[in-house]
Symmetry: C2
Subunit: 355 residues, 2 copies
């Protein structure tokens, strides 16, 4: 089984969403479990298999849920699993497991449904730009349709029951991936991140749970899923993100007004290095791409480079994507850094010459 993932041109990040200067993408996911079956990690193989079958049946009988591509994790290679994880289509948790695990993809991978992750069902919708409500509506619709055919583990007191208590209640995690170079360069980000964290929101890096921020990218999501309605969770997140957008805009305006040469220097140096380096690791590449993104927003590239180009590059420079492009499944760090540098040189030259 081969996943046609390398043509990324029509994926979720193809469009320019609202507030694209500051919000890279929006996501919502719901965690659900089937009643009367142990959670995935404690279920017997036969129970996991039954869960997978019941979900497959539900998806196939519900008319509004056609068009899903089903990928069995046990039928694809380790490298392909890594590609799915790098593309944010499966979690690291699902990547580590294969038996009776699957992912369903639809709508150019805007929608993904993981089966037998730590919860039986993890449904996710991802959108470009600032569209948390749209993502929520999309996933809520799928949840409603599936619930006609599946009986969820649900407690009147607690709400939806989940493998990890942090998801219990609504099972909803809503998030926005923000690009905050203005707050970073102004030295204000640490304080703001701390305030946000103290108010019940998690702040993560681009590469998900457990990662540090890189390239001035910060994923903000709700910590609390219990004792609030889905609407309250979404509204709360939007309130925080609205404020961040406002602060970021103010910081950028001030920086461009007062420190324009410094900012422009940083943007053009980043472009230069990405266009000429012969070795570059992920972490440096993402930092430099982040500066290009700021350059796009500052009008430095005359539309020859777009947010879409950068969204793609952030996915494509990851190890498994790079390796698959070369047909390699294994490479040492230096070879990978050389591949990444070559890829970036070529891609930037193509983008700039073709647009």
């Amino acid at each position: 089984m081969t996943i046609p993932l390398l043509d990324l041109s029509d994926r979720w990040f193809a469009g320019e969403g609202p507030e694209a200067r500051t919000v890279v993408s929006s996501r919502c996911r719901l965690a659900r479990n089937l009643a009367g079956v142990p959670f995935s990690r404690t279920a017997q193989p036969v129970q996991q298999e039954a869960v997978a079958r019941r979900i497959a049946d539900a998806l196939s009988v519900e008319a509004g849920l056609k068009g899903f591509q089903r990928i069995e994790l046990s039928e694809i290679s380790t490298a392909e699993r890594a590609i799915l994880r790098e593309a944010h289509l499966i979690s690291p948790e699902l990547e580590r497991h294969a038996d009776h695990c699957a992912v369903y993809l639809a709508d150019n991978a805007r929608i993904s449904i993981m089966v037998n992750e730590e919860d039986h069902l993890r449904m996710q919708a991802i959108e470009t730009g600032y569209r948390v409500r749209e993502a929520h509506r999309a996933i809520d619709e799928i949840d409603s349709r599936l619930s006609r055919h599946l009986t969820y583990a649900f407690s009147p007191q607690l709400g939806h029951l989940t493998a990890c208590p942090t998801n219990t209640g609504t099972g909803l995690r809503a998030s926005a991936m923000l690009h905050l170079p203005g707050l970073v360069l102004a030295g204000r980000i640490d304080r703001i991140v701390k305030d946000i964290a103290n108010n019940g929101y998690a702040v993560r890096g681009f590469y998900g749970e457990g990662t540090h921020s890189a390239g001035d990218l910060y994923q903000i999501s709700n910590e609390v899923t219990l004792g609030k309605s889905e609407e309250e969770i979404i509204s709360g997140l939007l309130g925080v993100v609205d404020q961040l957008i406002e602060h970021e805009h103010a910081s950028r305006d001030e920086l461009f007004a007062k420190r324009r040469p410094f900012i422009e220097d940083s943007i053009w140096r980043s472009y230069a290095t990405l266009s000429q380096a012969r070795l570059i690791n992920s972490s440096e590449a993402i930092s430099l791409l982040s500066r290009l993104r700021l350059g796009i927003d500052g009008g430095h590239f005359n539309e020859r480079l777009t947010h879409h180009d950068l969204n793609r590059l952030l996915i494509e420079i990851q190890p498994a994507h790079l390796a698959s492009r070369r047909g390699l499944t294994d490479a040492d760090d230096e070879s990978r850094d050389a591949m990444r540098a070559e890829f970036l040189r070529q891609r930037l030259a193509d983008i700039v010459s073709s647009n």
Copy 2:
């Protein structure tokens, strides 16, 4: 009085000297004082004036010493003095003084004679590449001719008397400016510099006395001027430089054999930054130019960039040269860094497109 210094195309560094991969330039200078007159800094103005006149007379009557351009330090601006110092044509000591101070330049500034520096006479010859003997011959010839018309302060026991005892004896300082990226990248340079210093040689940076090495450039010169003949001093220096050249070649060969991707990455990143930065200070510029020099030696620029180009750039990126190009006499650090970046972008684009 305006000095036509900005056309640098025919200056001493125009040629490619021997061992140009490793030896940027070679210099010899002789310190001399007139008998019966106090050294410059303790002489009365009338005595300084007399010294200047006697030297002017000697230069004008001696047939072999025609064609010198005389520049009176008191007749040029502070900015012009800085340009002469940056071009290695006068010392910082002469730059700080003006009255009765002069410099004579000949042979495209290969030869310079400073008058009323701390010694009455400082004669210098500078050559591209590894040509210490040629520089010595040139300056020895001038010394011989001048000595027919001037009586030097000389002691049969000590030799030539000088303001600073470190120059007493021969008054000869012979030096070579070496480019040692191989030894720097291999981490061997500190040990080698220490050994050289322990053996009676001074190690300085590109910008002369009191400066640290920058851009992997090291000026090696004799410390001892007393108790040795000029020939012994020159031979001793050549012995040290020969060894350094050999070590440097071995280090580079090893680096290119074992760490080629790392070296190439460093070269192309330097080129990229120099071609795109919007702000760049002297110290960074010289480091990056140093990597381009290594790139030239490694054949990375297909002769589109030459040692001559880089020798010029090293002079031209200095503050007074930059400012004069823009007709500015005063600029803050950021404006200067912006000018330097703009100059480098334009120059590199011109060089690469024209060759």
